[in-house]
């Protein structure tokens, strides 16, 4: 009697093995992500645009640093990660006249708010990262329908460990 016939003749052992295997597989996929998204909201899009920014607090309950590596939504063609930062204009201030003396008493604002696309959003271990105006935001491009205040936009964040985080962003002005 070989092992194969033995296992077939012992259906209880087969069932136990299958159950253990199933538990292992579901354990892998059902593992709750260490990161949760809280207080998510999105702006009502400008009337001429089908795009908008979304904000939230990302909380990492795990003991390892995690990062969001991409984001997607069934409600938009593309979701990007952006950061707003103050940068200095590299060009000489545009108000500079021919005479430097003249320029000296004329104030120039060469500090500019600029958007930079991000490839990841890091969330420290046991810490949080806030996506808020004037900082990091998600940008939803190509919204399929125009959301109104009170509507919910759903976004899925993909983390560097392969897990995903669901986000429900309330639309408001």
């Amino acid at each position: 009697m070989n092992a194969k016939t033995n296992s077939i003749r012992n259906p209880q052992a087969l069932l136990t093995l299958s159950a253990v295997g199933l538990l292992f597989v579901t354990g892998l996929f059902a593992q709750s992500p260490a990161v949760v998204a809280k207080d998510a909201w999105a702006r009502v899009p400008a009337p001429s645009k089908m795009e908008t920014a979304a904000y939230m607090v990302l909380e990492n309950r795990g003991s390892e640093r995690r990062s969001v590596v991409s984001a997607s939504s069934d409600m938009a063609e593309k979701v990007e990660m952006h950061e707003m930062k103050l940068i200095k204009s590299e060009k000489p201030a545009m108000n500079m006249g021919k005479s430097m003396d003249k320029a000296a008493d004329k104030p120039a604002d060469n500090s500019m708010m600029a958007m930079t696309p991000l490839s990841e959003i890091a969330i420290p271990a046991k810490g949080k990262t806030e996506l808020m105006p004037n900082g990091i935001h998600l940008m939803l491009f190509g919204l399929k329908t125009r959301p109104a205040p009170g509507d919910t936009l759903t976004v899925t964040l993909k983390l560097d460990d392969g897990t995903t985080v669901p986000v429900q962003a309330k639309v408001r002005n």
Binding site: A46, K88, P107, F141
Partner: protein
Amino acid sequence: MQGVRLALLRAVVSMAALSALSCHRAELPILPVGGGFTLTDHNGGRFELSSLRGKAALIFFGYTSCPDACPTTLSKLASVYRRLGDDAKQVKTLYISVDPERDTPAVLKADLASFHVDALGLTGTKPEIDKVVALYGASYEIIPTPNSAAKYTVAHSTSLYGIDRAGRTRILFSYDATVEEIVTGLRSILASRVE
């Protein structure tokens, strides 16, 4: 150095604004930036700053595809208008686009209508806009973003210019100025003498 000078100027201006409120005889300084200009308004007509005479104005530079900074400023200005009460009728907001390629008068009109602000969107040819940017000591830069659906982004300065009834720049509000500071500053501007 320029930044330090601007910060100092802002501090002096804020103090002047506050003292003007507590003592109506104190006058706000006239700042050496700004002045008259002509652009196209969001109804497609020519607009001259001088046509506002009798009203105070808030001027800022932005663009309607701005993901974050411009909507933040416009939301703040909606609160400023609410707080101004009856004085709100005396203040016009001028939103000067630094993205004439995308911001046509129709786009400006549609997008500004969603904010409760008495705002007029202004645009023009690039040379026309550059002239006004230079006049106000503002800055902007078109930055290509080939990996983004945005295609390009426009970095821009965020100061808000407080203009008196004679079209002169009296207060430079920084981007992080509070609603309270802007309301106080505007009341000082409205109370200032116009020769």
